[in-house]
Point group: C3
Chain length 350, copies 3
C-alpha cells in the first residue's frame, strides 16, 4: 500500500544515459530512458507484443525499441512501429509522468493526469552555487518506513555511528517533534560540546578551530512520501547555533530520499549537501566516502530489524518521545494514503 499520486526519486541523472534503466518502484516495473531531445521518459517495463522487458532494449530515434522483436514504443505508451507490422491496434502500456530535476529523475506512479511538477520539493541546495552535493544509492531489504523511523530519530547515531557522527551528548539532549504544515520536524540541540570526529573534520575544512566548544543541531524534516532532509551542523558555542553567521559554523543538509521497491525493500538515495567550500571536489568525494560507510551501518541494523518483524509479527513496538518523529511521519503518510484511496473511483456494485 503506497502513496501513488506523488513524486518519488526514481534514479539519478547518471543512471539513465545511453541505455534504458529498469527499476521497480512501488511494486511497479518501470523502464526509464532518454527519448526525444534527451528528455527522460518512463513506461511500463513490458513489451505489449510478447511481454519482453523493454529495459533490455535500446533507444532508437528518441523512442524505445524492444530488444526482442523490434517493436518501437513511444513515450506515450503507444506502439510507434514494428517491421512489417501495422501497430495501430496494438494495446498501450502505461506511460508515467516523469521529471528530471536537481540531478534526480522523479516519477509519479499514480495517475499521470494528476501529476503536477510544482509538487516536487524545492531544493535550494541543488541549484545554488553556494552548496555542493555528493551522494549515493543503496538497495535495502526493508520497508522504507523503517528508514524514515531511523532518520526521524537520530538518537541512534550515538550507538550505530559511535566513532564518527555519534556522541554521548546526543542521548542527553531531548528532542522536540512538531508538525509544521506538510512537514514533520524533529529537532535536537546539543549546547557547548566538543564536536564529534566527522564535524571536527568539517570545521577544519571550513577553517574553524576544531577544538573549540560548539553548539550542534539536528533538524530532521519529513515530507511525504519518503523524503527526509536533515539540517545538521555545528557553530561556535553561543553564536546562535543553526541561526549563526556562516563564518562561525559548518553546516550541511543530510539528504535522504526513500523510494519503495516492494513492501519489504526500498531504494535509498542518500547524500550530503554542504554549505561550505562548495568548489572543493576532493572534499565532496571524501565526505561521500565517509557518509557511505556510516550509512552502511544503518543498512545492517535495518535489515535485521525487518527480519525480526517477520519472526515476531505480533509484537507491539514502543513509541517513546524519541520515536515521535517516525510515528508522526507514518501517521501523516497513512492519512495521505487513506485519503488517496477514498478519492479513487469506486468499483460499481451490481
Amino acid at each position: 500500500m503506497f502513496l501513488e499520486n506523488t513524486w518519488y526519486v526514481a534514479c539519478t541523472t547518471e543512471e539513465v544515459q545511453d541505455k534504458p534503466l529498469g527499476r521497480r518502484i512501488c511494486g511497479q516495473s518501470i523502464v526509464f530512458y532518454r527519448g526525444k531531445e534527451n528528455t527522460v521518459a518512463a513506461l511500463e517495463d513490458f513489451c505489449p507484443h510478447r511481454g519482453a522487458a523493454l529495459s533490455l532494449g535500446s533507444v532508437c530515434e528518441g523512442n524505445l525499441m524492444c530488444g526482442y522483436h523490434g517493436l518501437v514504443m513511444g513515450a506515450d505508451g503507444k506502439a510507434v512501429s514494428m517491421p512489417m507490422q501495422r501497430v495501430g491496434g496494438f494495446p498501450c502500456i502505461k506511460s508515467y509522468a516523469v521529471v528530471e530535476r536537481y540531478g534526480f529523475i522523479w516519477v509519479w506512479p499514480g495517475d499521470p493526469e494528476r501529476a503536477d511538477d510544482t509538487l516536487i520539493p524545492h531544493l535550494d541546495w541543488a541549484v545554488s552555487p553556494e552548496w555542493a552535493f555528493g551522494g549515493g544509492l543503496y538497495h535495502i531489504h526493508c520497508d522504507y518506513r523503517l528508514m524514515i523511523d531511523n532518520l526521524m530519530d537520530l538518537t541512534h547515531e550515538a550507538y550505530v555511528h559511535a566513532g564518527s557522527i555519534g556522541q554521548d551528548e546526543i542521548d542527553e539532549s531531548p528532542v522536540k517533534t512538531r508538525k509544521d504544515g506538510e512537514q514533520v520536524v524533529t529537532s535536537r540541540t546539543m549546547e557547548n560540546i566538543i564536536a564529534p570526529p566527522f564535524w571536527q573534520a568539517a570545521m577544519r575544512a571550513n577553517g574553524l578551530d576544531d577544538a573549540a566548544p560548539v553548539d550542534r543541531w539536528q533538524i530532521s524534516r519529513f515530507t511525504a512520501p519518503g523524503h527526509v532532509l536533515i539540517d545538521v551542523g555545528v557553530a561556535y558555542a553561543g553564536k546562535g547555533g543553526f541561526e549563526a553567521d556562516p563564518a562561525v559554523k559548518a553546516s550541511a543538509i543530510v539528504v535522504d530520499f526513500m523510494t519503495p521497491e516492494t513492501e519489504d525493500s526500498h531504494w535509498y538515495f542518500w547524500g550530503m549537501a554542504r554549505h561550505f567550500k562548495p568548489d572543493d571536489q576532493a572534499l565532496t568525494a571524501s565526505i561521500r566516502e565517509g557518509q557511505g560507510a556510516i550509512f552502511k551501518q544503518d543498512l545492517a541494523v535495518l535489515e535485521a530489524q525487518q527480519a525480526n518483524r517477520r519472526t515476531f509479527p505480533d509484537r507491539r513496538l514502543l513509541a517513546l518521545n524519541i520515536d515521535a518523529g517516525g510515528v508522526q511521519s507514518r501517521r501523516m503518510l497513512d492519512q495521505l494514503i487513506q485519503a488517496e484511496r477514498e478519492a479513487a473511483p469506486q468499483p460499481v456494485a451490481g
Copy 2:
C-alpha cells in the same frame, strides 16, 4: 502439465560416464547411469530404503548402489541386494524407458510400456560422415515454451543478435508458417543480400567468396515435445537457395532440444550440425564458441520475459504473423497433452 508419453533429450552421452547423473525432467527426479554392458538406465532418484538420492551412489556390477546404506537397485527398479537383508519385499521405484542415440540420452517420462524407440526423431546429420556437430547445454530459468516461441520466430535475430547472425533484411522478409503432418514449419527467405558476419565466416570456411550476394534461408521445424531443428544457410544468389548445389552454398542445421525441468525452467540442448568441412575440428570448436555466446543473449532475454510474466500475469500477449510458428507449435503441444490426458485411465468413483 507436460507431455509424458514421448521422448525428451535428458542429457548427452558425455554427461553419463562412470558416475550416475541426477536430473529433474518434467518435474520428475531421475537418475541416469550406465549399467550392464554399458547400457544407460534411468530410475527414480529415490532410494526405497530411506529416501536418499541414488544419484549420489555408484555403479556396482552393472547395478546402481545407493551411497548411503548400500541397497543395490536393478535397472527394472527392483531391489537386487543389500548386505544382511532380504530385499524381496522391498518396494519398487519407477524405471524409465531410456535410449542412447545420436550422442544424446533420450528418456520417456510416461508409461514405459508405451515407449517406442522408433518415435525418436531420425537425425541424418548425427550419423552421416558429411556432417559435423558441436553443441552445449544451458539451464534456463523459463518455461521451455518461451524458447520454442523464440526459435519459431527468428525475427529476434535482427535485435537480440545484431552483429552476428542478425541483419536488417530479416525484418523485411515475410515468414510463412504451415503445419506439415506432425511438424510446424516456419520459413523465411532473404534474396540477394550480403551475408551477415556469422555466415560470411561460414562461406570463407567453405571456400566461397564472402562478399558475393547470397540468398539466405531459415526454415524452423518444430516437433513435439520440444524439438526445433532449423535449416539455415546461404547460397550464391539465384542458385536455388536451400535447394542449391552444395558447391555454391554453406548450410547447416541449428539443433535445439528443449526439455522441461519444471514449469518455470528447462534444459536447453543447443548446437549446430554443418554440412561442410565436417573433419575440421577447430572449426567445430570455433562455431560452438560463437553459437554459445549468441545463445547466451537469448537466455537473458527469455529469463526477463519469464519474470515479466509473473509480474503481469493477466496481460494478454499479441499473436502476430511472425508469432505464428510459436502459436501453432504450442497449439499442437496442447492438443497432444489434451489427448494424452483423455486417454489416461480414469480414477473410478466410489
Copy 3:
C-alpha cells in the same frame, strides 16, 4: 514441533566472547552474551523498543545494550535503562535458562522455571585429563532427526565413508538395538578384522601394531533431545573388545549434538573425545581435520535426502533392523514431545 523443556547445545564457549551471538534454536531467535562476572546469558533476540536484533548490540557493564538506540536489557529480560527514558513500564522479553559446561553453552528453550542443570548429561571425557577433545560445527539444511538416523545406523560408514572409517565388515556384522532407560543403544562388533585406515592411524598414535587383527566396536547411544555419543575403538583381537585393557586398545567417543534451527535445518556440533595421548595437540588437530572431512560427506547425503523428502512427500520409508536405532530414538523423542504437550497448560474454552 520440538521438545522444549530440555537442554540443547546452543554454541561453543569460543563462540560467545566479547560480542553477542545471535542463533535460531527450535525456531526461536536467541541472543547469547557474557554478562556479569562473565556468565553467559540468553535472551530473545528482539529489542522491545523497536524490534532491532539485540545480537547486533554490545555488552555494557554486564548487560546487553541494543545497538540501535541504547536500550539496556538485563539477563532477566527486563529493561535496565535507556538514556532520557524511564524504562519501568517497558515490556519484558523472554530470558532463557542457560548453562556453560564442558566447553559448550546449553540452552533450555522452554519454561525457564523448569530448567534443571542436573539434567545436562554428564560428560566424563570433557572433565577428565585422560581424555582430549576436538570438534567443530556444521550448519546443515536438513531435519535434525535425519542426522540422528544417520548416527544410530553406522552401516552407512561402509558406503559414505569408504576409504576412511568404512570397511566391508561393518555390513557383515549384525547390529543390536535396545532401550536402556532413557537411552537407545545400538551396537555392532566386528571380530578379528584388520582395522580401517582411520583406526590404523589411531593405533599407531597409541603405540600399537596397526597390522594386527583387532576386534572393533561401535556403540551408539541416543539421548533426547538430540545427543548421540558413540563408543568406538579397536582392541587386539580376543582381548575383550570395548572392555579390553587400555594398553591393547585405541578408543574414543564420537560426540554428536544436534540442535534444531528450524524444522528443516539444524546445528550439528560434532567432535571426537579420545582416550589416548590426551596431551598431543597436533594429534587432536589432525583427528579433527580428518573427522571434519568425513562428516562433510554425511552433510551432502543428508541434504539431498531432505530434498528428496520434499519431492516425494508421500513415500513411506523402510524400517529395517539396521534402522532400529533411528526408529526407536525417534519414537522416544515423539513420546517425550507428546508428554510435554499434554502437560502444558490448556487454553480455557469460553
